[in-house]
Amino acid sequence: MSAAAEAHEHHGPPPIHYSSRINPAVLGIFLFIGSEIMLFGSFFTAYFFDRIVARPAQWPPLDAAGVPFERPWFLALINTLILVTSSFTIHWATVACKRGNRAGLQAGMVLTFLLGLTFLLTQVIEYHRIGFNTHDTAFAATFFGLTGLHGCHVFIGLLILLAMTIRAFRGHFSPESHHGLEVGGIYWHFVDVMWIVVYVTVYVL
């Protein structure tokens, strides 16, 4: 440590000079999402190879009785609507926070969390009753791979939502300070948008 540091031990670092108008946490979450998109991209690449390049005779493949595996697209569509709704409720919560409406913030967060939880539980039940398992050809691998990876993101997202909800009830967000809310919200929107892509790829195409 230099003489300068010793002489000035009683104050901390100089005020940070921000060279960009974007908030570091917001930029950080956007870069993180870029990385996440690439992670999903690697799963979609595996899907592409197994579905297109490997030229499967039948997609979805036939089960023991000679009937193609059925993908529960209707249940998943309802689940999709639930998740998309949660994107609107978290947006509502953020707007409410910015307007100083604490009750709106809290209600929005609780609703978002419950919708997300419903989505995840529905998916668990769907896995349980779906009628095929991970070892049933590359079709099942990509199905469980993509929906499972997304399910992990919903789980992490729920933990973040839980933290945000707790903080909302403790009054830690205000119209002036809501970056924590915004960053978590951006992540949740990402999880929702990614689901739509996963849904179309896995259940519809």
Binding site: P14, L27, G28, A46, A138, G145, L159, A163, G180
Partner: protein, 641 residues
């Protein structure tokens, strides 16, 4: 760091009694690691018994979860998540008392520490530890290769050593060594007091030893270590012993560490530059780390994905790459190389930045073609994503992919050539000071040109096909990763050593280290070009007797090369306490890190500096890079002529 004890700044007196076991630190690690680790294993057992799967305790799932849960316990014990759990649960987070800043004793390097300079040292020392470990592995299998036939290791052990040597050198030495040097230097160079996310920075360092230990634990896994080569090709890898699970998971830890650091670098560089530090005034090292970090953030998820698929194929019996179940075997190689080719640039671009700094400063001349130097980094970044399949010419992929991949591969020689010629033009007519960093920098150019040219050869389909999987590949990769990356790491370590320690390394030993490495390196690896063209296959413990002479020569040379590392380590350790004390700017450089004391003050700058010019205006009358606060203002001698 000198031992000026200010309890005010540093961790409060260590807690006593039982509090020791609840405060973040190694005492807490003692119980959190087994607790969280066993909880993870217990959950596996619970799920499996609930689902009625037999056996309930199965080694594959247990190893998969265990390589996550035990390290998580370690991180929780160390306090890596304390801030976020406090924040998330809505508790009052501890006010920033700067507890985690600076280091007063060696013990502070074994804690979660948020000071970028401490983290940089943690990174660099860790990478040097693994450099020695995986270097010793190389010496072991060079002993085996000294003559044909089986001497010391059976083929399986030989392959384990080769695999571990390669993956440790790549993921635990070269990539994090640049993260370490970048950590020390980037905030200083752009005039910031720390990184944008110091707590994330501390956490991302601690993922690194976890990755290293997991890789090495894999060697001793029941059934045998990972032996499928560092590329871990499917489906071979999924059918190998259990050590490969450790391999797959360690890649995830190393990759996560790498992504988090890169994200931190990017946010720091974008949002925390000092006033006046426009992108076109940034030192080239900052530019280099900026482009590398973009590459890491975008490419690393692909290796994570490839290792996940392999893990699923083994543990969950999926068929991503199993042809028998409709999977596409070559998919693994495509996904793997989509990361691992850009990874070559992740391992080189920061080195290019270091070389640019050293060559400009030691030649006392402005860097030649500054803007093109920066833009060529971005060109390599973009092109780097378009060449992955040149690793797969003989893999049986679609034939039409070959020529486009060859074209883009050869195209990369253009931005790389721009850099080489700009360095040479910078040195042209310069007042060159051939001290240790400059010797390493020029040695780098010599060896890297050889490696780069053999890379151009290998990019050509017609040459690549006959030499695929021969020692020609081994020679090429060592010329770019040792003669390229490792040489730049040594350049950086010698160049910033006086800044980090406040003392100068021993110049004679530094030069001896360089010459021994340079000669030993070329003597070891140059003959492998010839061996490769003669058809000696790589990754095989035995070889035909006609290859004996050159292999014996390479083995002897490799021991000479290994001995040079001992000199380096002695020099570093001895000089840290006994070296000559030097002032803040022994190289008379203009970049900001040299304008503060050595070692730098705890918060780097008293006031945010004002940037007024480019970083390399040596010999330009009246040129200045930065204006610092009154206490630190020492005008820099810019003259070189």
């Amino acid at each position: 760091m000198t031992s000026v004890a200010h309890d005010h700044h540093h961790a409060p007196a260590s807690p006593s009694g039982l509090r020791k076991f609840t405060a973040p630190g190694w005492y807490r690690v003692l119980w959190t690691t087994p607790l969280v680790g066993l909880i993870g294993l217990g959950i596996v057992g619970l799920i499996r018994s609930a689902a009625g799967w037999d056996p309930v305790w199965k080694s594959g799932p247990l190893a998969t979860v265990g390589t996550v849960s035990f390290p998580m316990g370690l991180l929780i014990g160390l306090g890596g998540f304390d801030f976020w759990t406090y924040y998330a649960s809505g508790k009052k987070t501890r006010p920033e008392s700067h507890d985690g800043h600076g280091a007063t004793s060696w013990k502070d390097y074994f804690r979660i520490n948020t000071d970028h300079k401490v983290i940089g040292i943690q990174y660099t020392v860790t990478t040097m530890f693994f450099f020695v470990v995986s270097g010793l592995m190389a010496l072991l299998f060079r002993a085996e290769l000294a003559k044909p036939g089986d001497q010391y290791f059976n083929p399986q052990t030989f392959n384990i050593l080769v695999t571990e040597h390669a993956i440790l050198m790549i993921l635990l030495v070269i990539i994090p060594a640049f993260a370490g040097l970048g950590n020390i230097v980037i905030p200083l160079m752009i005039g910031a007091s720390d990184m944008a996310f110091p707590k994330l920075n501390a956490l991302s360092y601690w993922l690194l030893p976890i990755a290293g230990i997991t890789f090495m634990a894999g060697m001793f896994a029941p059934g045998g270590g990972p032996s499928a080569g560092w590329t871990c090709y499917a489906p071979l890898c999924a059918h190998q012993p259990m050590g490969n699970i450790f391999f797959n998971m360690a890649v995830q830890w190393g990759g996560a560490s790498s992504i988090m650091t890169a994200l931190n670098f990017l946010v720091t560089i974008i949002t925390m530059r000092a006033p006046g530090m426009t992108f076109w005034r940034m030192p080239l090292l900052v530019w280099a780390n900026f482009s590398t970090s973009l590459l890491v953030v975008l490419a690393t998820p692909f290796i994570a994905g490839s290792q996940f698929f392999e893990l699923f194929d083994r543990v969950m019996h999926t068929n991503f790459f199993e042809a028998s179940g409709g999977g596409y075997v070559l998919g693994y190689q495509h996904i793997f190389w989509f990361y691992s080719h850009p990874a070559v640039y992740i391992m080189l671009l920061p080195g290019f930045g270091i070389i640019s700094e050293v060559i400009a400063v030691m030649s006392r001349k402005p860097i030649f073609g500054y803007r093109l130097m920066a833009l060529s980094l971005l060109a390599i970044l973009v092109l780097g994503f378009s060449v992955w399949a040149h690793h797969m010419y003989v893999a049986g992929m679609a034939g039409w992919l070959r020529v486009p991949m060859m074209a883009s591969t050869l195209l990369i020689a253009v931005p790389t050539g721009i850099k080489i010629f700009s360095w040479l033009a910078t040195m042209w007519n310069g007042k060159i000071n051939f001290n240790t960093p400059m010797l390493w920098a020029t040695g780098f150019i010599a060896t890297f040109v050889i490696g780069g040219l053999s890379g151009v050869w290998l990019g050509a389909v017609s040459i690549d096909i006959p030499v695929s999987s021969t020692y020609f590949i081994v020679a090429h990769i060592h010329y770019v990763l040792f003669g390229g990356s490792v040489f730049t790491i040594f350049t950086g370590i010698y160049y910033w050593y006086p800044k980090v320690t406040g003392r100068m390394y021993n110049e004679k030993l530094g030069k001896l280290h360089f010459w021994m490495t340079f000669i030993g390196f070329n003597a070891t690896f140059f003959p492998m070009h010839y061996l490769g063209t003669q058809g000696m296959p790589r990754r095989v413990a035995d070889y035909a007797p006609r290859f004996h002479d050159l292999n014996a020569f390479a083995s002897i040379a490799s021991y000479f090369l290994g001995a040079s590392t001992a000199i380096f380590l002695f020099n570093m350790i001895w000089s840290w306490t006994k070296g000559e004390v030097v002032g803040s700017n022994p190289w008379r450089a203009m970049t900001l890190e040299w304008q503060v004391s050595s070692p730098p003050p705890i918060f780097n700058f008293e006031e945010v500096p004002q940037i007024v010019g480019g970083p390399y205006e040596f010999g330009v009358p009246g040129a200045r890079h930065a204006i610092l606060g009154s206490a630190q203002a020492e005008p820099v001698a810019t003259g070189g002529h």
